[in-house]
Symmetry: C2
Subunit: 212 residues, 2 copies
DNA sequence: GCCCTCCGGTAATGTGCGTTACCATTGACA
DNA sequence: TGTCAATGGTAACGCACATTACCGGAGGGC
């Protein structure tokens, strides 16, 4: 029965996490009751208390599971060989895609409110997920800077600017004012941000110093 | 007796709103108890129920009061005569200033979570406050575009980009990861965003997005 | 087949909280 | 100063909910 963890129990855990995430993201931490989660997941409360200890444990498990997903979606590795414009576009598209997922929206929503209750949790979520993606982008920009493709004093800062431009679309979605942008809208928004950003950081033309 | 609303009662109302805002912003709507508010404001619960009816009424009053403040801080009127760079810088500074205020951070924080509970309230907050500021910026950009100072297909979209760049600094503050930026940091961040933005949308002599 | 351990379900238990019933106090007006 | 209305305080009510006690049953080890 020790090995029982593999089959049923693991699957059960997934179901609980999924259901709990939905309710937490929809209602917020404080307003979510264990009963509501069970109502969605089936089974009984004992189930949750056996697996996660208590409400906080369940919540922590959810947040931890999702930071990884964010990070893996935003890894910039295979893109690095390409043109900067292509890289930024690809990165921007994926960022946009991510921001359209109800899960990430939910995580952000709840992280923002529960900062006081779970400071460490939120901090590590951001650092391991979104924050790391930004600093990875900054590294890419740093390489481009050394090649003279872009001109900037602070790669991390301008990476933040880029992410901010993409993320602007998110605020209204998070606030429930607008539905998630369509693929076409995303494409246009990313293209627009990339264009402005690249023009913005491109070396000035006064001397026409660098390449082609 | 009817006129009593003027003196004491009004002042009392202010104190209640202030204390309630602090607790709501700190703990979130669901986790805030009326007792906690009273503990901070003094007096008794009856006080709140007489003035605002119930918890929801109190919350609604807070949100409504603050949308105005946001909007008035971000009015772009007196700046219009100036250079576009000056206008953007001034607008960016004020935006940054606003995002440093605990009140606005609190409002955002709570608006983001309570979207499901108070959709209309949140919607009208955004439309009357931050949203309107962005569209006002878009109008300014439209004028600049007609003068040929900038080149863009969609002023509202790029206004969003600009606001997004500024707001990027806010996310980490809202998440409680970083303290509010100092005046100096704000200055630098705004200058950086303005520079990139202006270069980004400035008309170009030749097409250079495609390589030879 | 029998026992024993663990898992899951149900029904408490205790607490916190929004809301209200009820009473004391106050302050205006005659 | 006496009366009345409204305001502020206290204590109670009822409910929702996190957590746990208790119990039945399933399934592996002998």
């Amino acid at each position: 029965m020790v090995a029982a963890k593999s089959g049923r129990t693991k699957r059960r855990r997934e179901i609980l996490l999924q259901a709990a995430a939905e309710v937490f993201f929809e209602q917020g931490y404080a307003a979510t009751s264990i009963d509501a989660i069970i109502e969605r997941a089936g089974g009984s409360k004992r189930n949750i208390y056996n697996e996660f200890g208590n409400k906080e444990g369940l919540f922590a498990a959810i947040v931890a599971e999702n930071a990884d997903k964010v990070l893996s979606t935003l890894a910039i590795e295979e893109i690095e060989g390409h043109d900067l414009e292509e890289t930024l576009t690809a990165f921007g598209r994926r960022l946009m895609e991510l921001y359209k997922s109800p899960t990430l929206i939910g995580i952000y929503r709840i992280a923002i409110t529960e900062t006081n209750r779970f400071p460490d949790l939120v901090k590590s979520f951001h650092e391991q997920g979104p924050g790391r993606a930004t600093s990875r982008l900054a590294e890419v920009l740093e390489v481009a800077r050394q090649r003279g493709e872009i001109r900037t004093a602070d790669c991390l800062r301008v990476a933040g600017h880029f992410v901010g431009m993409i993320r602007d679309n998110l605020l209204q979605v998070i606030l429930g004012i607008r539905p998630s942008p369509s693929d076409e809208e995303s494409r246009v928004a990313v293209a627009s941000a990339v264009e402005i950003f690249l023009n913005g950081v491109r070396p000035r033309q006064d001397k026409q110093t660098d390449r082609p």
